[in-house]
Symmetry: C2
C-alpha cells in the first residue's frame, strides 16, 4: 500500500527534494481515508487536528460569514494539500472542506508537523512555496474583483478551473467535477442568477455547453478574449 503511494506522490511539488527513503518515512505517518461525494472533511472553526493531501477527487474549501453567506476559497485538485492550518500558525480551520466528488486523501495528524519539518526542512520550504503561491492568487483575485466586471471574472474563474481540473474533449474542455452556478457565483463574488444569465448568453454563442453541475468550455480561446477585454468592449 505504502509502496503504491510512493510512486503516485513522489513527483509532487510538496515532496520535491525529498529522498525516497525519507518519503517512505513521511508516508508511514499518514493514514488515508475515503470521502464520498458531498461529505464534509472538516468544518470551519473546528480544531485543526489533521492536514491533508488529496489523492483522488475534488475538494471545495469555503468560508462562511457570521450571517451565513459563503464564498469558495478554492477548489483542491489531486496532488494538492489542504487543511494546513497549523503550518500557518492557526489552531482552528479557517474554512470548511467538502468533497465535491468521491475523494481520497492522505491524512497526517497536526501534531506530526513540527517533527516532520524539523527532520525534512525541504517539506517546510515546499509548503512555504505553495502558501506563497496561494497568497499571490488571492491578491490576483482581489485585483480582479476590484477592477473587472462580473462577466470577466466568471471567464477567468472558468479558465482557471479548466486549467487546474479540465478534461480535454474532442472539442473543448470539460470541468472535471460537479460544479453549480452557485459555486461559480461564490468564486466570483456575484449571484447564481447573474452567472446563469452569463452562461446562457455564452451558450447561445457557442462558447460553452453546460447543464446541471456541468460545464464544458467549447471555445476556450474566445473565452480568454472575453476575460481580457476591457470594460468598454474594445479589443485593443
Amino acid at each position: 500500500m505504502a509502496k503504491l503511494d510512493i510512486s503516485l506522490v513522489a513527483h509532487l511539488p510538496l515532496f520535491s527534494g525529498i529522498k525516497p527513503d525519507d518519503l517512505d518515512e513521511i508516508l508511514r505517518e499518514a493514514r488515508s481515508a475515503r470521502y464520498p461525494r458531498n461529505t464534509a472533511i472538516f468544518e470551519q472553526g473546528a480544531d485543526a487536528q489533521s492536514f491533508f493531501l488529496l489523492l483522488h477527487g475534488h475538494v471545495r474549501a469555503a468560508k462562511t460569514t457570521p450571517t451565513g453567506e459563503q464564498i469558495v476559497v478554492r477548489y483542491v485538485a489531486p496532488g494538492e494539500t489542504f487543511g494546513l492550518a497549523m503550518a500557518i500558525g492557526a489552531t482552528h480551520y479557517p474554512a470548511t472542506a467538502l468533497a465535491v466528488d468521491d475523494s481520497v486523501a492522505l491524512i497526517w495528524p497536526t501534531s506530526a508537523w513540527p517533527r516532520l519539518i524539523e527532520r525534512f526542512p525541504a517539506l517546510a520550504a515546499n509548503t512555504m512555496q505553495t502558501v506563497g503561491k496561494r497568497l499571490q492568487e488571492s491578491h490576483t483575485r482581489i485585483l480582479e474583483m476590484s477592477t473587472q466586471q462580473v462577466e470577466q471574472r466568471v471567464a477567468h474563474a472558468l479558465l482557471r478551473l479548466a486549467n487546474q481540473s479540465g478534461k480535454k474533449l474532442d472539442h473543448g474542455i470539460e470541468i472535471d467535477f460537479p460544479i453549480s452556478r452557485q459555486d461559480i457565483a461564490q468564486m466570483t463574488g456575484t449571484t447564481l442568477h447573474t452567472v446563469s444569465r452569463i452562461l446562457s448568453g455564452w451558450e447561445s454563442q457557442g462558447l460553452v455547453e453546460s447543464g446541471r453541475q456541468r460545464i464544458i468550455l467549447r471555445d476556450p480561446h474566445r473565452i480568454v478574449v472575453l476575460a481580457e477585454r476591457s470594460p468598454d468592449g474594445s479589443t485593443s
Copy 2:
C-alpha cells in the same frame, strides 16, 4: 549601530525564538536605508534582489493591472517585513512598494535567505506564520468584497488601519500616516468619489474628522457598528 538595532527588533515576531547572539549575526548581514516620503522602494515586476524589515515609517504595497488600475495590497507598519518574494518562490516582486512617509528599513540580499533559514529554522517558521496570516487576511478581504457593501468595507478598512497604525488622541484615533480617499478606494474596491461621499456623510454625523490625506476616527465604536450592520440597516 547594530547594538542599537538589536534592542529595537529583538521582540519582533519575526525573530521570536532566535537567541541574541544569533540575532546579532542575522542583523550583521543587513544594511539599512532611509526612504523619504513618496520614494519607491521597489517596483512590481523588478528582480527581487532584497527583502526588507521596516523600522520606521509606513510603506504601501500596491499591485497594478496591465491596464494601469491599482489596488493597495496592504500597508506595512514598523516591525513588519515586506518584499519577501523569494521566500515564497518568486523571482520578481509581485507588487510595488512605496514609502508613504519618511521611512527606514533593514535590507537583506535575497541571496542570504537560504543560508539564514538553514542556520536559523525559527526564521523560516516565523515567516511562514506571517505569510499564513496574510493569506487569511486576503481571504477575509475577498469575503468582505463578495458580501458587503462599500460603506461597510470602508468601515472595516479604517478600523484595520486604526488598529495597525492608529495614534490615540484625547478623543479618537488618528491614522498615523498620509492616506488619501484614493488609497482607501483602492483598498476596498471602489472609487475615490464614493469614499469621499461616505466620509462626508460620516463627518456630518461626527463619526470621523478628516482632511487632506488625514483621517481621525472620532467615534470608533459607532464605526464598528456600521461595519457589522447587515445591508438592510437593521441592527440585530
